[in-house]
């Protein structure tokens, strides 16, 4: 374990940015998001969850991967590949789990090469939580806000300093690269344990229980409950775009004259066009089927494929859905409740 005094953070950013691209949670005026760091930016390591989850670093909202031109002897293609190594600093435990859930999808055969390259070349520094929000519920999905298994480096905030624990080779070599800024922290291990323990205890339970919910939903596809939820849904993309586990995309061409670009971009099952087929048929014709899909995907379909619920309890949909059609509301209504309220 090593530690870094907070007053040395700017030095740390400069040192890292010299070697690689560095993504940090930056205050963009009200909303904090992971951006490539440049001198002068206002880094906010106290904000809990970035508005846009860090999935966007690996699975970009818009990603051009092919360029084409028409020439005399036919169409010429040029592949565009992701750019070099990066460090992603400040990922919260729920969001790290979100990235791991995306790994299940993008790294299974056939592998998604764009995603894979970014993933392999990026060093993730996770940051444990100290003060969970009232809308957090990560512990419902067995996520520990004080730990981040699978992150390359784990950072814990002790108030005046960050304590780092390397969890992979990439993490170790990052610590070596910044060794000049660090001090030994073996003596702080008790304090670190305590901060992590407190974080876990501070996550509200909301009286929720998802034990057996997946199985229960097996027979709820035609349940009348779907006919009630959806009526208030605006059909916007807020919940899906901001969800760290949503991963649907579309592929489109942008052609101008003789040249063009092929890109992939986020898509949302909440949009009517999402399942619209070339024939004009739409198997999810109304918002009812779309809302049902969003929740069954997270609580039933994905778990069937990968043995894990596809919600990490980050609370983004709770905070941002304009009509509160969020995961906590829906789990409760579906009967995933033990007792009490929020």
């Amino acid at each position: 374990m090593k530690k870094l005094k907070k007053e040395k953070l700017t030095e740390l950013w400069s040192l890292l940015a010299e070697r690689t691209s560095l993504y940090l949670p930056v205050d963009e005026g009200g909303s904090v998001n992971f951006l490539p760091w440049e001198k002068g930016m206002e880094v906010d390591l106290d904000a809990l969850n970035s508005t846009i989850p860090p999935k966007s670093i690996f699975f970009q909202q818009t990603e051009v991967y092919l360029q084409y031109t028409t020439e005399e002897d036919g169409l010429k293609f040029e592949e565009i590949t992701p750019q070099g190594p990066a460090v992603l600093f400040g990922v919260r435990p729920c969001d790290l789990k979100g990235i791991q859930l995306l790994d299940n999808v993008f790294l299974q055969e056939p592998e998604d090469s764009l995603y894979k390259q970014r993933r392999l070349e990026t060093t993730i520094v996770a940051l444990t939580c100290t003060k969970p929000d009232s809308s957090c519920f990560c512990t419902l999905f067995d996520i520990d806000p004080g730990a981040a298994p699978g992150a390359d480096l784990l950072a814990t905030d002790l108030g005046e300093e960050f304590v780092f624990t390397a969890q992979s080779e990439k993490g170790e070599s990052l610590l070596e690269a910044i060794a000049t800024l660090l001090e030994d922290a073996e003596a702080d291990s008790k304090a670190v344990e305590e901060v992590r323990r407190q974080a876990k205890a501070a996550v509200p339970t909301h009286g929720l229980d998802v034990e057996g919910l997946k199985e229960k939903l097996d027979s709820m596809f035609d349940d009348p409950i779907w006919g009630t939820f959806y009526r208030r849904c605006l059909g916007c993309g807020t919940c899906t775009y901001l969800c760290p586990t949503c991963h649907c995309f579309d592929i489109q061409d942008h052609t101008r004259g003789e040249e063009g670009l092929r890109f992939r971009c986020w898509d949302s099952c909440m949009f009517g066009e999402f399942t619209l087929m070339a024939s004009g048929h739409n198997p999810r014709p109304t918002q009812k089927e779309r809302v049902r899909n969003r929740f069954l995907h997270k609580l039933n379909y994905y778990p069937k494929n990968f043995e894990s619920y596809a919600c990490v309890g980050c609370g983004r949909c709770v905070r941002k859905c304009p009509v509160n059609l969020d995961m906590i509301e829906v789990i409760k209504a579906l009967g995933g409740v033990t007792s009490g309220s929020c």
Partner: protein
């Protein structure tokens, strides 16, 4: 006298029993003290879920387009801003007056969760926030706190000019005195006085962040086209790439489509997950229209000709200005 939850429940019960409407749109509480969301009430046993508290901000009129496809008559509660939205839909011929039964609720402004949390400071233990006169009473695990409500309103409510509904069938409480409001064009004037480069930086910074989630459009009572140009895919007017040029195109088109029709309800800006100040763009157009064609307040009178929807033979400005 302020409208009470009991009054809302009573009137809703009468509506159902008397078969005055097939559906009642109201609000119900969510899991959190700051959540009150749209409720769709069709049965007696659902009546009890109705609420009326400082978080009933959602404008229920936007659901009429969908619900009136199946229902002959829908009853709904309308605050001041929601009533303007009803007039918007009437003027755009999206609904007929006989299709709706309107219960008016004079409104002193809705509460801002973030402002209250910042003041109370113990966000995990707030249980309930209710209004009492000019105060918000915050119930926490450690007792009660009284806040001067005017400091904890949603930004959009700070410049509300129509707290009393201007269209209704029955008003559920006495009209309230209008209160002093923030001048709504302040930030527009500030932008107008900046340089072209500054303005470009300002808006491109904001539109760069746009997610293109369309919450702004979907919540907007003036965005009532059956098929939005942004959803058409043959041809695809708006490319799906999230890049500045497409985002700017999207927002300029929307601003112009609602110009002269925007009721300045502020819903678009309130629901934007990326905190983009959309209302400033709409207000710039409102201000320009007022200056060019004389004062006009969209949503106040569905019969009044619209500045951009009217043709005059003696129009002082011809199509070509040359």
């Amino acid at each position: 006298m302020k409208p009470t939850v009991d009054k809302l429940k009573e009137i809703a019960a009468e509506t159902l029993v008397g078969k005055k409407a097939e559906l009642i749109l109201g609000w119900q509480k969510g899991s959190f003290w700051w959540q009150s969301f749209p409720a769709f009430i069709e049965k007696q046993e659902e009546l009890d879920s109705l609420t009326w508290d400082p978080f009933c901000v959602a404008n229920l009129s936007i659901y009429l387009l969908e619900e009136l496809k199946r229902k002959k008559k829908v009853a709904l509660f309308v605050k001041g801003c929601d009533a303007l939205a009803i007039n918007r839909l009437l003027q755009d011929k999206c609904i007929e007056r006989e299709q709706v039964l309107l219960y008016g609720l004079p409104c002193k402004g809705m509460a801002d969760r973030a402002k209250i949390e910042a003041a109370v400071g113990e966000e995990l233990s707030i249980r309930e926030v209710r209004r009492d006169g000019d105060e918000f009473i915050v119930l926490t695990d450690n007792g009660e706190q009284h806040l001067d409500a005017s400091n904890y309103l949603l930004d959009k409510c700070l410049s509300c000019r129509y707290p009393n509904p201007i269209v209704y069938d029955q008003l559920l409480a006495q009209e309230i005195d209008t209160f002093p409001v923030k001048e709504r064009f302040q930030s527009v004037v500030k932008l107008e006085n900046s340089t072209f480069e500054e303005r470009y930086l300002y808006w491109s910074g904001h539109f760069n962040r746009c997610l293109r989630c369309f919450a702004c459009r979907n919540v907007c009572p003036a965005c009532n086209c059956r098929e939005c140009i942004f959803d058409q895919n043959e041809p695809r007017w708006l490319g799906k790439a999230n890049i500045l040029s497409e985002n700017q195109f999207c927002h300029l088109i929307r601003a112009y489509h609602v110009a002269g029709r925007c009721i300045d309800c502020g819903e678009c800006q309130r629901v934007c997950p990326m905190d983009i100040p959309l209302q400033e763009l709409n207000r710039k157009l409102i201000k320009d229209l007022n200056e060019l064609y004389g004062d006009y307040d969209a949503g106040t009178d569905p019969e009044e000709p619209q500045p951009l929807g009217t043709f005059k033979l003696d129009d002082p400005a011809s199509f070509s200005e040359s």
